[in-house]
Symmetry: C2
Subunit: 222 residues, 2 copies
């Protein structure tokens, strides 16, 4: 047989982490639906069943992908001003989820949070507690902030793929119904806001985030 096992030093072989990294790459490039064991193996230059030596099953790969995404989110530090910490965390979370839109849909079905996910949550909770939030207040604030972040990411993922194209193809069949004047307010929003030259939906994120942060305060509220 040929010399398998990779040609020496330049490809030191597979590993759990390399499988996950390649899976991330493929999911970003071709979408999560195109990520199959076979395509993943091909992308790594091996055969499908080889992957099962490094990974228990596909579900574990998906768990790993979610955890990889959490790796990219800024973890708050214990010292700084809490609102600024939460602001940074929120923005970096949104950006990570926009880089990997498929991760949002994955969140719903994951049952086993990975180490990066746990570390991230722990650090965030710690920052809030250190800022003077009670345990109950921390739970509430965290739920509120994360709900907003995930929800915004979900909406952003549901939007048409590219940025500011005419959205013609997607809206095509619906446009007929719009032309009937059935949805005047949606048309209003579309023409006066969304389709405006410099409009970027991402900016709306800041608005909502600041509104929430303004209303959040540790001690007084019960």
């Amino acid at each position: 047989m040929k010399d398998r096992r990779g040609g020496g030093r330049d490809r030191p072989g597979l590993s759990h982490e390399k499988v996950l990294r390649k899976a991330l790459e493929l999911a970003d490039r071709d979408g999560l639906a195109a990520l199959s064991i076979r395509s993943l193996a091909q992308g790594m230059g091996t055969k499908p069943m080889t992957l099962y030596y490094y990974v228990a099953n596909k579900d574990q790969i998906l768990d790993g992908l979610v955890d990889l995404v959490f790796t990219e989110i800024d973890t708050p530090e214990a010292g700084g001003e809490w609102k600024e910490q939460m602001r940074r965390r929120a923005h970096s979370a949104r950006e990570a989820l926009r880089r990997h839109p498929w991760a949002v849909g994955l969140l719903e079905s994951r049952k086993a949070p990975g180490p990066a996910t746990l570390k991230h949550h722990e650090a965030t909770l710690g920052t809030l507690r250190a800022a003077g939030f009670t345990v109950q207040q921390t739970a509430r604030a965290y739920s509120l902030l994360d709900s907003y972040i995930y929800g915004f990411a979900l909406q952003e993922a549901a939007l048409p793929i590219a940025g500011h194209e005419p959205t013609a193809e997607v809206a095509g069949p619906i446009m007929e119904r719009f032309a009937t004047g059935e949805y005047p307010h949606m048309v209003e929003i579309a023409t006066q806001v969304v389709m405006q030259p410099g409009y970027d939906y991402g900016n709306e994120f800041t608005y909502g985030l600041e509104l929430i942060l303004s209303a959040l305060e540790p001690a007084p509220a019960d």
Copy 2:
């Protein structure tokens, strides 16, 4: 051959809507992953390919499911006080998404909003506009509210299935790491909040919603 075509009046035959309704039922009962064309056909007493007379493909079924869920959400009326309208809408949306948790993950990938979805959005936008929000303010408020609703539903869907069981099975493998004291704040939240006797995570929804509604006002803010 036997007399197919359903025995007379009591089963008047299939229809697009009946297929969707059965799909909803199966998704609720066995989970979205268990919803296959074959299982759906069997549940309706037909053969797989028969469904394709009423439905273009599975993706259209999923689109229809999401639209069915929107059917269950209270649509705001033009007349009432806007905050109360938004409150009702938000709560009924959360409840609908809790009844059909799989719908949350589906939202990310749907590209063709159905009629009920469009009607719902249109009515909601109309209520905000009628309350004095400018077009831009409406877009922002809507984005904020929906992000919170969807995000909360996403988190709720990601929680362990039942309500207030010990969560032992899910947390099992992770518990070891918890025992090491690696995640003190998560333990704190778990013991002092989540695992408290009467605790219901759903109540946190109200807290965040009211916080957001309090900070939202039509005219003055820009």
